[in-house]
């Protein structure tokens, strides 16, 4: 191989530079700041467990959507035995009334833009 020394040094240099952000973060002991979401004050109980809601709220919402629109079922019985109306705007946003500081902060953090809001309106949203 010609110029092996230069090539290998160049490759190592490239790798170090390319992964700099990882080393810097590791060295300083910080990671990206997690979203600071505002939970509702008055209500402590969600329709399902927090862990489930964190990971799968979109599945639940999709299921609600199909049940209401296509199956004509509107009541949701949670594990805690409470009955809720399957409604994004009434039930979900009824408690999580601050979309900007709850939904949006997390969605922005993970860079997803759900299209729910193209049609459904947030209670306070001023349009």
């Amino acid at each position: 191989m010609y110029d092996a020394g230069k090539i290998i040094t160049g490759l190592i240099l490239f790798l170090v530079l390319f992964t700099t952000p990882i080393w810097v973060n590791l060295a300083s002991g910080t990671s990206a700041e997690r979203p600071d979401i505002k939970l509702p004050v008055d209500e402590k109980q969600c329709v399902a467990a927090t862990e489930y809601m964190k990971a799968s709220h979109m599945d639940l919402i999709y299921e609600w959507r199909d049940q209401v629109v296509r199956e004509e079922l509107r009541a949701y019985h949670s594990l805690s035995g409470k009955e809720y109306e399957m409604s994004l705007t009434k039930t979900c946003l009824g408690c999580h009334s601050n979309k900007a500081e709850f939904c949006d902060r997390c969605h922005n953090y993970v860079a997803v833009s759900p299209y729910c809001w193209d049609c459904h309106t947030e209670p306070k949203e001023g349009i």
């Binding site: 959507r65 629109v69 296509r70 004509e72 079922l73 705007t89 049609c119 309106t121 209670p123 349009i127």
Partner: protein, 259 residues
């Protein structure tokens, strides 16, 4: 020789076959079949075949009355476009001749001929729009409502072309800026989605009457179940003659006009 001879073998084999073949239908016949009450029957209005009866003679007593149109369009976030090309309509006024193309009676009562007629989705028994929808975004419910799932509409407009009554409107533009005041209990639509009257299914689920029926100051509209012989709509249809739009197409509309 123990057990079984040819004669008995054939007997047992035959018997087993008979039991085997009849097993499933028998089991089905004896199994209890609790009729699952649909959600709609559990709460709110109980009905099998919704219908709307409009009395054009009572309608528009006050000239320029738009009570039903305004009520419907307000609660369903129907945008108001000035340009007729972009217009979205759930319930609207149509000239008599245009609404009833097939009515060849030139000398029908003037009071009918001169006034516009209220028209809306006919919630046909045999809806052409449903047949052409490639995504099943529109379908016919058990109670006859031709329902729409706006989540699923891809905006192909086959249904717009298929509907012989012009009851379907397409959102060519983003409707939100053209809604005077958004009712937050009901979604808006987006650009690229078809919309139409859904017989206030969201109100029926709560046991409320249709918005247009409720809003009419002349009580010119009656809503009810065609399957119930005692319902108001059946009484009206029994006592008065009624016409429907384009009956020759075989779509079987359930919006009736008393004459």
């Amino acid at each position: 020789m123990s057990g079984i001879d040819r004669r008995n073998f054939i007997k047992i084999a035959g018997l087993t076959t008979i039991i085997g073949l009849s097993g499933k239908p028998l089991a089905d016949a004896f199994a209890s079949q609790p009729a699952q009450a649909s959600a709609a029957e559990k709460e709110g209005h109980v009905g099998k075949r919704w219908a709307l009866v409009i009395d054009p003679k009572k309608c528009l007593e006050k000239e320029g009355c738009r009570a039903c149109i305004d009520a419907c369009h307000r609660i369903h976030n129907v945008p108001q476009f000035d340009n007729r090309k972009d217009e979205i309509k759930w319930i609207w006024k149509e000239e008599y001749e245009k609404a009833f193309l097939d009515q060849e009676n030139e000398f029908i009562e003037d009071s009918l001929k001169e006034k516009p007629v209220l028209v809306l989705c006919n919630h046909c028994d045999n809806p052409p729009c449903v047949r052409v929808c490639p995504t099943q975004a529109t379908w016919k419910r058990q109670d006859g409502i031709v329902m729409m799932d706006w989540h699923r509409c891809i905006g192909c407009r086959y249904c717009v072309a298929a509907c012989p009554y012009g009851s379907r409107s397409f959102n060519w533009r983003d409707p939100r800026p053209f809604i005077k005041e958004i009712d937050k209990d009901f979604p808006t639509r987006t650009r690229g989605v078809v919309e139409k009257c859904t017989f206030c299914n969201e109100r029926l689920a709560k046991g409320l009457p249709l918005a247009c029926v409720e809003a009419c100051p002349e009580k010119a509209m009656a809503f009810g179940d065609l399957e119930d012989p005692e319902s108001e709509v059946r009484q009206l249809l029994r006592n008065r003659f009624a016409i429907r739009r384009k009956p020759y197409l075989g779509t079987q509309p359930v919006v009736f006009y008393l004459v």
